[in-house]
Symmetry: C2
Subunit: 511 residues, 2 copies
Amino acid sequence: MTFDQMGSSASTVSSLDDLKRRLNLISDLAAAQGMMSWDQETQMPPDAARVRGLQMASLAGLTHQLFTAAETQHLLEAAEAQAGPSEFDADLLRVTRRDYDKATKLPTAFVEELAQAKNDAHHAWIKARAENDFAHFAPYLTRVLDLTRRYAELVGHDAHPYDALLDDYEPGMKTAQVRQIFADLRERTLPLLRKIVAAGDAADYGVLTRPFPAAAQREFSLKVAREAFGLQPSFSRLDVSAHPFQTNFSTDDLRITTRFDEQYFPMSLFGTWHETGHAMYEHGVGRELERTPLSRGASLGVHESQSRMFENLLGRSRAFWQRYFGGLAGAAPEVAAGQDAESIYRAVNRVQPSLIRVEADEVTYNFHIMLRFELELALLDGELSVAGLPAAWNAKMQEYLGLTPPDDAEGVLQDVHWSAGLIGYFPTYSLGNLLSVQLLDAARRVPEIAAGIERADYAPLREWLRVNVHQYGRRRTPGQIVQDATGQPLSADAYVKYLHEKYGDIYGFEA
Amino acid sequence: MTFDQMGSSASTVSSLDDLKRRLNLISDLAAAQGMMSWDQETQMPPDAARVRGLQMASLAGLTHQLFTAAETQHLLEAAEAQAGPSEFDADLLRVTRRDYDKATKLPTAFVEELAQAKNDAHHAWIKARAENDFAHFAPYLTRVLDLTRRYAELVGHDAHPYDALLDDYEPGMKTAQVRQIFADLRERTLPLLRKIVAAGDAADYGVLTRPFPAAAQREFSLKVAREAFGLQPSFSRLDVSAHPFQTNFSTDDLRITTRFDEQYFPMSLFGTWHETGHAMYEHGVGRELERTPLSRGASLGVHESQSRMFENLLGRSRAFWQRYFGGLAGAAPEVAAGQDAESIYRAVNRVQPSLIRVEADEVTYNFHIMLRFELELALLDGELSVAGLPAAWNAKMQEYLGLTPPDDAEGVLQDVHWSAGLIGYFPTYSLGNLLSVQLLDAARRVPEIAAGIERADYAPLREWLRVNVHQYGRRRTPGQIVQDATGQPLSADAYVKYLHEKYGDIYGFEA
């Protein structure tokens, strides 16, 4: 209890305490669902799937019911009426109010209709992708889009319905701001990409497909995750799943997953370090936020800035490989044979336009995102019909990356997001990329941190991230975090400069 | 919906449906807690322990609150008032009513007081055992006993307060019945034990401590669990934990654990088959009981009959080793060197009085249980003081097994149960032993089953168990299951005969 609170009346203190207990319980229920989901992806015997689905839906319904109940509203109002809350309590009330208002704006019937439509669309997408049949998916996507428009109206928005969607993943970010940042990014990196493509190979990329046993990949990637990135086994574990992810059940209970390709080691190595970035963000959240709605990352974009920093800015840096080439050679002598730190550094930074987003490099990745963002806006605005989507996709793919997908399975059907109703989600990937460099540049202004990065000693950097980003959880908005940590709003500047310098050097032309 | 129900009014059907939905949700919450507990013992990084404890307590409180809420009572009453329920619904209502009445007989303040006392006693026991200091544990045990007496009064009982305790683990079983069965068992097996001890060694027991790598133990024990006992990986998994256990989150989501001692392979082999027996019971429960309070084993005693049957009656049988000696030799050539099926059979059936219950053989095990049962009754009746407990323990240990513990850590402090408030639990271990043979004898009356057992093909037996025991879950009481499956109430007869025949043969004297 803070000094401020001690003067307040017993009844209002009790309201706040009761509210906190309710939020703790809701957080615990969310942790249980998170564990059921993690278990499903990593541990569960296959026959358990049907009942597990019922169990998870049942707990999700209970959680929603508890949070949107009249009692929550009463407790929240009483707590808000209390004079002079502590800073922490004021943050907790503000975020809880935001979540509560959003959750209660949607009628139950609409929530159920949307959930059903997403579920139907997801199954249709699986079939459509397997059979390369966009027409099968089209009516389901149309329905998801219709409901998404209604969602935006129900939740409310100012300038553009897309703002309402974006706000779910990147609170406070506006569509107009993303448009402007992306336009700037496109203008300043498309010429760079063209130059790189023209330059040809900068390394022997055959090293990337040399055999590397899964057990050795696991050992090496975890050793680095521990030593370089601070992921200790006392508060984390690594499992295998079909699609890598990070989840956590408390700030000291982090679970990351990976998958191994013995013929392409970068997948598990950089994938593990990516998820380590997400995990270390959650681990850095202040312990006093535990079991409250504040106790997780501020947004998907800020989250992605942490995963991308470990995966790319550090894990794909020259200093990193100067330090860890020896470890790689110890783990996989056949991979390292005839190689050195420089050749590995160049190989893992291959720039190559490709059709698949998740396989894209630092230069081309954002073009995959811009493409999706522009198509989402055109669909929502009604400028583009669902029927016209595959052609529009292919045209943009040609415009940005000079490629045309051989079929829709490798084109418009490649990502799960739209089928799952995740519209407004894609931009956060690129916002995270941009923010990763902007944050790293800000941290580097501290000489000790810059010196550490030069020798791949990231302990000082990690502490800076904990203090300037992680500890706040959701107490500060992404915008506040970026402004306070870097001294300016998010822009493409740092990322553009980073790409030009790094790839100008690798591909042998002036930045 | 059954034909009976179709005639009933819409409002009562709705009450029953609402009740079922509530029971489903409560079952799902219990599954989530089970998973949190399983994860804690098998997967969780250690730093997560503190918050995990809070999460589990919070979900347990919510579950209790939901079940004991007035709404449950209203739904239950309305459903009970409905005419002509189906057999299934009648069973569901009866068991739910029993659970509800029991749960609501305890004031919340008492539940919290008891939970706190158990928690305190558990920590005191850990310290007392580590420091061999019974005096430190004594006041905590006294408090647990006082609260246990109050518990029995609150719940209510007929002849003896112990009936109320026993009923939690073995519904319907009475203290007087246990006394009578145990007296019979003692009288008819103590002379046998004396004779065996006098007979000396019946095999070369050195084979049990030959090195057997953990990975090979795991592979062999799982192969047998699959082939002999039906535990398929599609609905189960095996993990490692400090203390072996079985838990499950649905009938197709079974989790068993084991621990490996590379210098004493029987621990993991027989331990895994023991837990497999528990798991296969849960797997055999009818799918229509899923997510209801009926969907688990009828009692601890019936559960133990299944685990002991696999572990001892089958796993420690001559026919079993005739079939699986080859597998053992393949998994551990060094263990099998110079051995054969008969020598392994004799070695794993060594009878040796020892101080520790969990290491006891088929002949001595029940004496450990009788000792605890008699001391529990004496403590509850006030005939024995807590201060006098260690001396009483040692006297009984001398009387039954001819041994005196060197200290209390290997004597009265060895088991966790009393510190956890589990008084009335111990008898179920022996009841399970007795029932295991009584059930197997009944099953053997089917020629196909008897023939299968002779060649260690247990598929026909497993199907008999599923039909006669497993499928009912809690729809039938343990007493009904025993009577219907074996044609008579539980007694010591079958077990006594089994011991005399088996060990008379092994130790070379007439049964």
